[in-house]
Symmetry: C2
Subunit: 179 residues, 2 copies
Amino acid sequence: MKTRDREATRQRLLDAARTLFAEHGYEQVTVRMIATAADANVALVARYFGSKAELFGEVVMGEPGIRRVFGGDPATLSRRVAEYAATRMHLEPESPILRSLERSAGHPEVQAIIRERLRNAIMEPLARHLGGAHAMERARLVTAIFLGIGTVRRMVGPHVPSTAEVDRLTAVFEQALTP
Amino acid sequence: MKTRDREATRQRLLDAARTLFAEHGYEQVTVRMIATAADANVALVARYFGSKAELFGEVVMGEPGIRRVFGGDPATLSRRVAEYAATRMHLEPESPILRSLERSAGHPEVQAIIRERLRNAIMEPLARHLGGAHAMERARLVTAIFLGIGTVRRMVGPHVPSTAEVDRLTAVFEQALTP
DNA sequence: CAGCTAAGTATACGCCCGTTTACATCCAGA
DNA sequence: TCTGGATGTAAACGGGCGTATACTTAGCTG
């Protein structure tokens, strides 16, 4: 028998929600799916998180930022960003936060959460790391290209980029990052 | 009294659907909203189009391509594309097809329609117009940047680009368009 | 070991969705 | 003018959703 442990159950729900939201987006995931995946009862979602939207908020807020990719030596940033973006052409993004965000936009009840998180956890840190003139505008543009690549992959299917394409992408990001 | 005219009613439904889908995306629009906006009865959506998904398909298929922007002299294409993209930073895209597509992705029942339309009405014509090596890859990248900019505008709000930003965007598209 | 509290469960509620059905109304052709 | 098929309407159906409620049960505490 499963032992009763509020914290553990809460965590299972959170983990299941993170996975599912990332994979299918906010609206496609039902609280019943989450509960089943977490091997918990549906009512516990409401009990522990208040509502589905709040659970989503907690998932998204709990994700680490994207420092791992965007951090590091600014000199080679374009190339690293380009390579990371290139993998986005044929693979789901590693970062659950990006997945969740790009798949859940447009839903009124979580739009505010998404907006806040995209600004505070991605664009703002990136802008700070970039520095220089128009840092925020550049960060915004880089973010846009990232999300767009993900959208296109999702829409028309994966695409394995050639070396030449990664080069082109690098050049694109260099231009996007130019102050 | 409203005269009975199957074609006219069908057209009103189609127009209402086009507007609403473009504005709110597939899932946010209900058939009741469409019927009300068209001043018609809900049941007629099913009667005239079969289903909501098929109505969406007809809307998207009926949209003109994006030749108006992407057509014209290839020499100045980057600049024109950049300027068009720049307006996307603070304005809804003029093209209803792009609006509908970028707002309705991820819904299983219309994914196939979207995929087909994005390929055949946007990326393919653009690739043909671009010509040169890796035309499809370049078209894909340009499309991605377009969609990404729209996504970011929708997520974090509109942003009026400066002249310098349009220049940067131009440079970005030049790189994206480079064979 | 009894009992109470916290954890978990089963179920139902109310809502909105897309779709279907049964019916009302209009109007062209006889 | 009568009538039957086309057009439009109202209402309901069935299902899924998020959420709320009443209940059961496990496990600690005295």
